[in-house]
């Protein structure tokens, strides 16, 4: 069975799809009312809200699928701003010709991920677009989420100070390498790191650590996220290359294709800035979780130096001390991370 334009018509086929595929797996007391909007109870804390759209190819990959990604991605963004995720919405854009079996598996893994993360999917929508040329099938998901900031800590880059420790929760590049391996038909054992960052983030928020800011390390990789954090905080970050964990098989994969793990996407890693005196405690808390087992202190924040008159443009905000002992700029990603051509 495949998706046809009729599934997006709003008529009987749409209702059947919603009932059979989505409600059966994702149903709860809010979604099941099937109103135009979900009516939700009053919340006693300040709220955080976010949205993210997922377009990954292939939609199923070692370590997860687009459904798990769509739940974890939005849940993680809420946790990173110090909010416990409560409710999600899910919008699906499906391309004619999509196997309904695939959609069922994706909805199933969304249900599983939502249960594990303690969130409910309370609103949804489905549209079908025409099949244009080669891209038969195809599934795109948007999720938006609401969470409450129930802790005294409300992390944000503006709270960072010179001398804070920069902590990375685990090794880099696994998601990017897993997806690319599938696309290129390269066989290996690399799995996506797609995961709910809630448990380690909650441990930090509730554990008495002075967390200044948290960011999940997704598109653009660590290099891009560090630059964004430094710019938002008005600080410079000095990172230590030899302290940054990368799994051996990911490192080999990168060497083969000329990729740099510092620019590769992750779906279950985060960076946090914490007060220097709390760094060891933060590492201890993170390492208690499997996904934080390799958590490491990878650098520190410093005050920005005065701007250089000779060079136009801003001072580079992130400096990497290389494993060999040199220093260089660690810049944001430009364009796509592409394999070498010679």
């Amino acid at each position: 069975m495949k998706i046809t334009m009729a599934h997006g018509s709003g008529g009987q086929e749409t209702r059947e799809l919603v009932t059979e595929v989505f409600r059966r797996r994702l149903g709860n007391e809010h979604l099941d009312r099937m109103e135009d909007a979900a009516a939700l109870p009053r919340l006693d804390y300040p709220l955080a809200m976010t949205t993210d759209t997922f377009v990954v190819t292939p939609p199923e990959f070692p370590g997860g699928d687009i459904g798990k990604l769509a739940v974890c991605g939005t849940v993680n963004d809420l946790w990173m701003s110090g909010a416990r995720p409560l409710y999600l919405s899910a919008g699906f854009v499906l391309r004619e010709g999509l196997e309904i079996g695939l959609l069922e598996r994706v909805a199933g893994s969304m249900a599983q991920a939502a249960r594990a993360a303690g969130v409910q999917i309370v609103a949804g929508d489905t549209k079908v677009i025409e099949n244009s040329g080669d891209d038969a099938g195809g599934i795109f998901i948007n999720t938006a989420g609401i969470g409450c900031r129930q802790w005294a800590l409300t992390p944000g880059a503006a709270d960072a100070r010179a001398g804070d420790a920069v902590i990375l929760s685990g090794p880099l590049g696994n998601h990017h390498a897993a997806i690319l391996s599938r696309r290129l038909g390269i066989e290996n054992n690399i799995m996506s790191d797609c995961a709910d960052l809630g448990p380690p983030a909650e441990a930090l928020l509730a554990g008495g650590v002075r967390v200044r800011a948290m960011r999940d390390v997704t598109r653009g990789g660590l290099a891009t996220v560090l630059n964004e954090m430094a710019a938002a905080a008005g600080l410079r970050i000095e990172a230590e290359e030899s302290a940054i964990p990368v799994d051996a098989d990911v490192e080999r994969f990168c060497a083969l294709l000329g990729l740099d793990p510092l620019y590769m996407a992750n779906e279950g890693k985060f960076i946090c800035l914490v007060a220097d005196a709390d760094a060891e405690r933060a590492l201890e808390l993170l390492r208690a979780f499997p996904l934080g087992a390799q958590a490491a202190r990878i650098g520190r924040t410093e005050a920005l130096p005065a701007p250089d008159e000779k060079l136009p443009g801003a001072e580079p905000p992130v400096i990497l001390r290389t494993a060999l002992g040199g220093r260089r700029i660690l810049d944001s990603l430009y364009g796509e991370g592409l394999p070498r051509i010679c």
Binding site: P312, T322, G326, R327, R328, I329, L338, R340
Partner: protein, 348 residues
Amino acid sequence: MPASDLAAALRDYRGEELRIMEVCGTHTAAIFRHGIKNMISPSLRLISGPGCPVCVTPAAYIDRAVELALEEGVTLATFGDMIKVPGSRLSLSEAKGEGADVLLMYSLREVLEQAQAHPARQYVVAAVGFETTAPVYALALEQIQRAGLRNVRFLTALRRVIPVLHYVCRTDSGIGAFLAPGHVSAVIGADAFRPLARRYGRPFVVGGFSGTEILRALYALMRMAQNGTADVLNAYPSAVRAEGNPRALACVEKYFTPGAAAWRGMGEIADSGYYLREEYREYDAGSLPAAAAAENEPDGCQCGEVILGRITPPECPLFRRACTPMHARGPCMVSAEGACGIWYRYAV
């Protein structure tokens, strides 16, 4: 010798200024990624050479690729590095915005699969690269012939490293030693540099790409230059043999033949290109004759001077001002292996 000792020796060099050209763009990128430039004596000056295929490809080649990509029924397949290189009117990425069908390929396999699935569509492969990449195109040609595909052609800008190094040695660039390209050498062999070393009296060391391998190669070049040794040392034996890879070379020679080619900023250099042989011309998509390709450089762009090591990127008046990775005027700023882009991204 451990890396720390190599680094110390290179830092403590007190001789007269020695200009070392790292020929390959991948070496330039690795040198900056490891922060080597500011670990060694300022008297050891590292100069980026002509070994970034994207950087040396003339604007006229991009123009031809854009023209083909805009043709009805044509898909132009390219590796990612080429897509943002400015032509005289458009880059391939801009042409895409005007409706051109540009396929960013990770491997030739994707192109061959698509060509097989869509026999009515024409596929043109932008075949850019040095001896390292040429065997990839030769193998693809072998597969195309075997599968009887009639809808794949090549727009070639293939380059040979030895002729361009003769050119560099003959000009006034003052290069005293050469870090020879590791990947190219894996194909053509370390011995291929010996005639250059002997004729121009300069040391060549074939080096690998890890930080320690680069330090080892630079250390060897420093010592050889101090001792006046005009020879070749293979410091990358794990990947490079003296005779190279004869099978790859044979495959390339089956399909391609040397000919004059234009290099950005250097003009035409005899025998420095590879062209499809007469008997395989049906697979050629109108690769430009070298003479015609030498014009149409972007206004004020000094990539040619940078490639020859006559100026460093910050000495170009456009650098960081009119020319940045997001809005590049010349190819050296666009390519991941171009000297300008590398200085912009990494130099502290």
